[in-house]
Symmetry: C2
Subunit: 319 residues, 2 copies
DNA sequence: TTGTAAGCGTTATCAG
DNA sequence: CTGATAACGCTTACAA
C-alpha cells in the first residue's frame, strides 16, 4: 500500500508537489509532473480517498436508500438516479434499514434520496443539520436541506377512479392488501375520495393478502354473491391477476361482467388474457428528478423542478 | 457540527478521555463517563466516521455488488447477507458497475461480495492486494484473499436434464435467451452435457429473446413443425411461461404432448395452468454463506464452508 | 483514572 | 515552481 509519501520520496520531491502533480494542478513543471506520475504508476499508487474525505469534508458519495420490500419495482429508480450521479463523478451506494440509518448519521454520504420508512425522521433531521441535502419520496417533512416529493398514490388512484366513474361503472369494490401497509392506505384513500366526490356512498372492501393466490380465492368467493360489483380496483397487480384467473375459471367475462384494474403495472399483467389494466409509476422519471434536484443543490446551482406527471394509467383489456 | 473536541472541552476533560468514554472503554470513571455522554447528547454529537476510518484503516463497511440485471431475483441474496453482516456490526452498502468499481479501488469497503461481471478482474486483484477479502459468485478466479464460489448453473441444468432423460423423454429442445448472456451459455452447456452423457446426439436449439412474448411466438411456430420435441428446457421462466401460453392456445397438452421446464422459479410460474416446473437457486442461502465466509476471514476465525446444495428443482405440472 | 501527543494520508496556505 | 507545515477528527500508546 503505497501512499503519496512513498511517491514523493521516490520521485525526489516534496509531498505537496506530489499532491499537486497527482491532482493535475498547473503549478508544477511538466518534467516534474511526468516523473511523479511515472513513479505513481510504478508504485501502483491509488489515493486514499478516506484521507481526502477527511480533509475536504466531502465524500463524493451519494446514498440511495430504498426499502427492499419495494423490490424490483424500484430498481429502475435507483438505476436512473445512479446514472445521473455517476455522470457528475459522484459514486452511488444503496442500502436500507439499519445500515442506511448509520450511514446517514455518520455522514458517509454527501446527499441522500430516501424511500424507506424504516429510517426515522430524527435521522433525517440530523443529516439535514449537517447541511447535507436529502430528498424524500416516502414522506412529507419540512426543513432546511430537506426536499420532500412524496409519491401521491392517493391522487393517482383518485384520478383513475374518476375516469372509471365517468366511464359508467357504478358498483365499486376495493381489493386491499395487508392493511398495515401505508401504500394500501394511500391507495384506498384515493379510491374513497373519487367515490365521495361523485356521491357514491356504497362500496365493497375486499380483504386480500397481496398475493396472486389470495386474489384468485376472492374471485371464487365473489362468484356466489348476488350483488357483485361491476368494477374492482385492486391495490396491486398480483391480486388483480389472481382475480382475473379466478373469474376466467368461472366463466365470468372481464370486463363485461366485471372490470378490473390493478396498481404497479407489473410485467406479467400484459401477457395474460384479458390483459390487465394497471397504474404504473414512472420510477425512472422519479429517479431522474431526484438526482437532478439533489445535484443542483450540492453544486449550488439553480434547478427548476419539473412539475410533470410521473405516472401512467395503462388501460388495456380488463377495464 | 460538533466534534469530539467540543465534547471534551464542554465536559472539561481531555480529548482522549472523551474518546474512551464515547467508545465505552472501561478505563474511565463512571461519573466522568456519564458527564461526557450527557454533553455528547446535548451537543448532538455523532462521531465522524471518516476520521475514524482513516485512523483505524478499517471502514466497517462491506460492499455487496450485484449487477442490476439480476433484479429482484437477487434481492434475497443481498438482504440475507446484509442481515448477517449487520449482526456483526458491519454496515452494508450495495452498488454495481462504475460506482462499485471505484468503491473497491478506493478501499471504501473492508470486504466485498461480487456478482457483477462488469467489474473487471484487475479491480478484484487490486482489492485483494489491499489484503481485503473478496467473495466471487460470478466467476472463477484464484488468488490470496479471493474466494470464488461461482454458481454452477451448468451442473444444475445437467442434473435436471439427467432426471428428465431418465424419466423417458427423448426429443429435446433448448430455448435460449440472448446468446451473449453468460447465463445462457452456462445453461446450454449443462443441457448439452446431459445429452452427451446419454448419447443423445440430436436436439433442437430454439432462439428466443428472453421475454414471455418471444416464448409465446416460438410455441406458435412449433405447432406447425412435423417433428416436435417432447421436452423443452427454457433458459428462463419468462420464455417458458410464454411457451405454455402459446401451447395452451393451440390446444397442445402440457406435459403430455410436450413437457416444459424453466429456470429461475419466478413467482408467476406456479400460478399459471399448468404450473411451470422450474429450477430455483436459493439466493438466500448463497447470501448467508457468502456473509459467513467473509466474516470469518475479516475476524480471522476459522469457518468450514458448508458444501450443501444451493438450488432446488421444483417439479410441478409442466414436466 | 486522566492527559499528552503522535500519527493515519491527504490538501492547502504560505514562504521561499 | 517547490517545499515546510498545519490541519481535518479521531484512536491509542505512553506518561502522569
Amino acid at each position: 500500500m503505497s501512499t503519496i509519501k512513498d511517491v514523493a520520496k521516490k520521485a525526489g520531491v516534496s509531498i505537496s508537489t506530489a499532491s499537486y502533480a497527482l491532482n493535475n494542478k498547473d503549478n508544477v513543471a511538466p518534467e516534474t509532473k511526468a516523473k511523479i506520475l511515472a513513479v505513481a504508476k510504478e508504485l501502483n499508487y491509488t489515493p486514499n480517498l478516506v484521507a481526502k474525505q477527511l480533509k475536504t469534508n466531502e465524500t463524493k458519495i451519494i446514498g440511495v436508500f430504498v426499502s427492499h420490500i419495494s423490490g424490483f419495482v424500484v430498481n429502475q429508480f435507483v438505476e436512473k438516479a445512479k446514472e445521473i450521479f455517476e455522470k457528475e463523478k459522484f459514486l452511488v451506494v444503496s442500502s436500507n434499514g439499519q445500515s442506511a440509518n448509520q450511514l446517514l448519521l455518520n455522514r458517509y454520504v454527501d446527499a441522500a434520496v430516501i424511500m424507506d420508512l424504516s429510517i426515522p425522521n430524527e435521522t433525517i433531521g440530523q443529516f439535514a443539520n449537517y447541511d447535507s441535502p436529502i430528498y424524500l419520496l416516502d414522506r412529507q417533512l419540512m426543513g432546511t436541506n430537506i426536499l420532500a416529493h412524496p409519491i401521491q398514490e392517493a391522487d393517482i388512484v383518485e384520478s383513475l377512479m374518476t375516469e372509471m366513474i365517468n366511464k359508467g361503472y357504478q358498483h365499486f369494490a376495493f381489493l386491499g392488501a395487508k392493511k398495515e401497509l401505508l401504500q394500501n392506505t394511500m391507495r384506498y384513500e384515493g379510491f374513497l375520495r373519487a367515490l365521495n366526490k361523485h356521491h357514491i356512498d356504497e362500496h365493497l372492501y375486499l380483504e386480500g393478502k397481496g398475493t396472486i393466490q389470495s386474489g384468485y380465492q376472492i374471485a371464487l368467493d365473489l362468484v356466489s354473491i348476488k350483488e357483485r360489483p361491476d368494477f374492482i380496483f385492486s391495490a396491486n397487480d398480483y391480486m388483480a391477476i389472481g382475480l382475473i384467473q379466478g373469474f376466467n375459471q368461472k366463466g365470468i367475462h372481464i370486463p363485461n361482467d366485471i372490470a378490473i384494474c390493478g396498481f404497479d403495472n407489473y410485467t406479467f399483467g400484459s401477457s395474460i388474457k384479458p390483459q390487465l389494466s394497471s397504474i404504473g409509476i414512472d420510477y425512472g422519471k422519479l429517479g431522474l428528478e431526484a438526482a437532478k434536484v439533489l445535484l443542483s443543490i450540492v453544486k449550488k446551482n439553480e434547478y427548476k423542478k419539473a412539475e410533470s406527471q410521473d405516472f401512467i394509467i395503462y388501460l388495456r383489456e380488463s377495464c
